[in-house]
Symmetry: C2
Subunit: 410 residues, 2 copies
């Protein structure tokens, strides 16, 4: 739709999330600009509108702003000043600067959720070991230490099982003393003895829309709709995420939980997104305790690993809805096209140039949808791709996706 | 998977079929090279491996061959010499030169199908008006006059209703006298008074595969599988195509025909692809007469408009299977994920820079999957995009897709 020299949409970030956003935008006929810190990123190589620069590189940001009036954030690590600059140049950034600021600092995020009356684990800032010891007196062990910013895939978290763990955990998370104070800042949380982890992707419109709101909620697999007009919100089904070593390993959709739990999870997710002022697509992670209690763990202000299954399993994927939302368009159908779906991540096995071994064997698994992100370099635990499958039950879908994933080394 | 300097796969052609092939290849982590006659084509702009040159531009072909060991043809208009060159440089071209030569000349194609015992309309070369008059004596009026090469979307066909139509129809199809003789060559066919037009997309593997062949055929919506090993063939469901002015307007999947008709159509499609030696993905168009007789109309040696619905409606789309086949990988599941699906084309309304009007209104139709091809220029009747919908029945799916399409002007 844009001319050769302009893009319809920009993405700040060029990794796999940006790549799948670009793919969804491309299907809608859009030209996409991508800004990433290095050239030839998974998304950057799919457009001629590739901008290379650090997240705080003003000249690069200006080039991006010159290409497109609307930008989606692929990650929450962009400095506030960069968003301020983009918005000062009349670029619409989704989510906006205020919502990102409330979300990207986990201490602020939890405070905001807490103020809104949403259930969050007890938390407080951890400026030093004393704060952690005090937390232990109040809440007992174990405790969770977290970076306030820039944590992902478990890289920003440590469990402290007792006083002996505190110094090592804090030092590991804070990093070298010469890092900026904001990046060394930590918080400490009570450990929630959860039984399951749930997640809900929430799509929230950004503009005046002409959405027809039908308000139906068809059981656990249905898209949940409300709002309309200027605050259209559509929820994807509540899913269960299975983590390994702090990294999302498997997603099962819908989560095998009682209807009332799913309904409460959906309601909390919606309220959390509103409390933080997020628009576009956001992922809400929740803990489900044995007694049925739900706690909001954290929010990602963007498309999220727990929503990848939606590419095949839902009327409109989380990526398509992120694009629709950013452009002020009506949101697409979030309900599932099959009774169940599952996703299994493909994590890097070793430090080596990326090469998918066993791909033909994996492609031979009927019903497995294999996604590879085109990363040039593999690393242990790095997200290199994922496999999705549909099924009559989550177990059936997991079996297919896991079989294909087991045949692949990436 | 390829390094920065190389691509895993090339596409000769840069239009919407190439764009959707590239999208499918990208999901599988592949880097794609695209060659098209002009820069900034719908597919060419999605890769840094963009080669610009005419189909017979040897230097451009050599650049493409330098980028990738495997090439898929997007169209059947590539001169035989270009394929000869590519193959002489050890590039695998799908379909191969021999199969393309047998298919791209409609006279050869029909002769080959006829020799294989497949039902085709009576046909003969039409060197001059006398040949057409003789055909009328043998088969009666009306007659169909066709270009032997380079016809598409009805641009290469004319119906002659009586002797008075012959000269005008031939002149229009042949074009100026200074065109090469091969491009002016015509054939004449008996007109088949069909009741419906059917189509079957056939995926045929190209390499040693480890495919598990389960051989199940689950009714009209099921993927039909046979072969395995070196000749794996998977059929998409038999669909009905509805043409308007010689251009595919609507596709309904599966076709509402008795099981025995669907089975015969599938069997003819499989035999036709084998008779022409095609590999990769091919589209077989058939006529269904009122008495239940089937006639093979023609084959497209590539992904085809009648298979676009497979992106949302089938386990693996025609585009994914074209990529899998070309790389010698096992084919993906061709069965449908919903009881029915429909596709409606979005055709250009006027000569003007492309702009989708009514897009937000169309996006507001629940269940409509809107695809726009990113063409810069619209023309009356030009394929600018399509809409797919799933449903409990083809009628239900058509209603959704047609509603969205009716809201859009492209």
């Amino acid at each position: 739709m844009a001319g050769v020299g302009r893009a319809d949409l920009g993405i700040l970030g060029g990794g796999q999330l940006a790549r799948m956003l670009l793919q969804a935008a491309t299907a809608l006929g859009l030209d996409v600009a991508v800004m990433e810190q290095a050239a030839d990123s998974p998304a950057g190589r799919l457009t001629r509108h590739e901008v290379v620069g650090a997240w705080d590189d003003e000249a690069a940001l200006r080039r991006l702003a010159g290409l497109t009036p609307t930008i989606i954030l692929e990650n929450e690590f962009v400095p506030a000043r960069s968003l301020y600059l983009l918005e000062s140049w009349d670029v619409t950034v989704v989510p906006d600067r205020t919502a990102l600021a409330a979300t990207q600092d986990k201490l602020h995020q939890k405070a905001r959720l807490d103020e809104a009356g949403l259930p969050v684990p007890p938390f407080r800032p951890a400026g030093g070991a004393d704060d952690v010891r005090e937390a232990a007196r109040d809440w007992g062990w174990p405790l969770l230490l977290k970076r306030r910013r820039n944590g992902y895939d478990g890289y920003g978290n440590r469990v402290a099982h007792g006083p002996a763990d505190i110094d090592e955990a804090m030092a590991a998370l804070q990093g070298p003393l010469d890092r900026p104070a904001a990046e060394r800042a930590l918080l400490v949380e009570a450990y929630v003895p959860f039984e399951r982890e749930l997640a809900v992707m929430v799509a929230r419109g950004c503009g005046p829309t002409s959405a027809t709101v039908d308000g139906d909620v068809d059981g656990g697999m249905g898209g949940d709709v409300d709002g309309g007009g200027k605050d259209e919100v559509r929820l994807y089904p509540v899913v269960e995420t299975v983590q390994r070593n702090g990294i999302c390993h498997q997603v099962r959709a819908p989560a095998a939980v009682p209807d009332d739990v799913a309904a409460r999870a959906a309601s909390l997710a919606r309220a959390a997104v509103r409390a933080l002022g997020l628009r576009g697509v956001a992922g809400v992670e929740l803990f489900l305790s044995a007694d049925g209690a739900l706690t909001v763990n954290e929010l990602a202000p963007r498309v999220h690993n727990s929503g990848h299954y939606s590419i095949e399993a839902c009327g409109a994927s989380q990526f398509e809805n992120a694009v629709r939302a950013a452009l002020g368009w009506p949101l697409g159908d979030t309900s599932m096209v099959a009774p169940a779906a599952a996703m299994v991540n493909l994590l890097g096995a070793a430090d080596s140039p990326a090469r998918a071994r066993g791909l033909e064997q994996a492609l031979d698994v009927r019903g497995a949808h294999i996604h590879l992100y085109g990363k040039r370099q593999s690393r242990p635990g790095r997200k290199m791709g994922h496999v999705t499958a549909l099924g009559a039950t989550p177990d059936e879908a997991v079996a297919i996706a896991a079989e294909a994933a087991s045949r692949l080394t990436v």
